[in-house]
Amino acid sequence: MSAPALPRLGICHAPDGAANLREVFRAARDLCVPVLLVDARVAAAHPDLVALASRILECHVLPATDDPESDPGPVTGLGLAGVTTFHDDELERADALDRLVRGAPAPAVEAPWDKLVQRRVLHAAGLSAVRAAPVESPDDLHRAYAELGGPCVLKPRRAAGGRGIAFLDGPDEVAAHAAARRVWDGMLLETRIPAAPHPAGTPWLGSLVSVETVSAGTRRIHLGVLDKLPVAVGRHEGPEGTDAVNVQGDILPSVLPADLLDRARDLTGRALDALGVRDRVTHTELLLTPSGLEVMEVNGRLAGHTARLFRLVGAPDPVRTALAAALGAEPDAPFEPDGTAAGLFPTFRHRTGTVRTALRPRDLRELPGVQAVDELAGDGDEKAALQYRMTNLTVRADDRPGLDGVITRVLATLTEGFADPAGLPDPVAAAAAPPGPDPTMEHPTCV
């Protein structure tokens, strides 16, 4: 008797998502047939992508359209059981195509990944103190700032990675930014919530934490809570007067006290309920504040850089979990991590100029605890080439003190190798300093 055919699952794919081709290929084994769906604009921008993907996966190029329900291309004829994605830019396309192939009704909340929609829904549900207003022009900015009061943050309603953000601390900054920015489509202004330091007191822990959750219908299992390195902000160092904002790392599992961990999971679950989230893995960012936890944003896909961290602590592969969730499967029970792991991508503290270094990937790979080096800024590179990142590497240790030692050695090696410290609090100075926000860092914000 032959085995039953596996369900076919569409995956809207683009480079630099939370799962690469190999992770998808491997995670799908004996679970589903992954069918890669690539927007024609993505295919044109990455000429090798479709050729490479087609060597290992079924792959189709979709019409270049922002209305995939009206022009789905070949999707309806592919026999798909559902459609999902691991890339933030593909969320709306994947959701629309998923509804199309399933014949599913419109979602409970229209445009749930729009940060303005999230702000309004979460505020109305009593889950967030942040207030927000749409901004499409300089006049809108002045009006919204007067309405909300400062300090505020101007940011795109739909974007990941910290692009296009401006911290606006007073009317002078608002006026200066209104004069400098050229692109105004799809922005929002939101009130800025003060951050509280991470209670663990570790020098390189920031005030953001994230919760990865799998939803099967409305049943939710929280896969893990992660600590973060502080968000690095270069004031006015982005284009058109924006601030250059970079996340610098994730650590699994979080060392928040048990009561805060419980509150983080509970708040995340209630935010997902309010947004009507179903059948997917989500990445929710929370801010530690003096009055408790604040939801910063909910992302409708697995977090970037974190799948490997879960695997390194013995967890089920979250890429497979996400594929199973998209097929409506019940999630596995919560797991107990075996060890601790971190993805580190610290930025240069001084962002201008070119990189001067003799550091090679093998110098970092040979440090104890370093598992992988995916990127390393090279001698002569513009610092902006890797979005100001020194490196992108992964470390593991059996326990948190061990991991702290690994991170200390990595940061020291980077500082020496680049003759420029990372955009993090100096560990020695921070350890000796009284607790409180680091004066060299901006308050972390959603990125």
């Binding site: 060597r55 490997r308 790979r365 080096v373």
Partner: protein
Amino acid sequence: MDTKIDDIVRAEWCEVLDVTSPEPGDDFFEIGGNSLLAVSLVERVESRLGVEVALEDFFLDGRLETLVSAARAAAK
């Protein structure tokens, strides 16, 4: 013969990943390799040994020892 194959696969692995002391159980994709680098590695091994190594198999199991075994089997 097997020793020569092992040396070639190890040398290409080290070159592509920029490592010096690979362990047989190292997983190419978990220590910094990506899909494009994997294609490059497999093609380099194929070119030097004059054999064909299944890319799909390497994507499923990215360990050095598995690639060495696949290269040995392909050379027979």
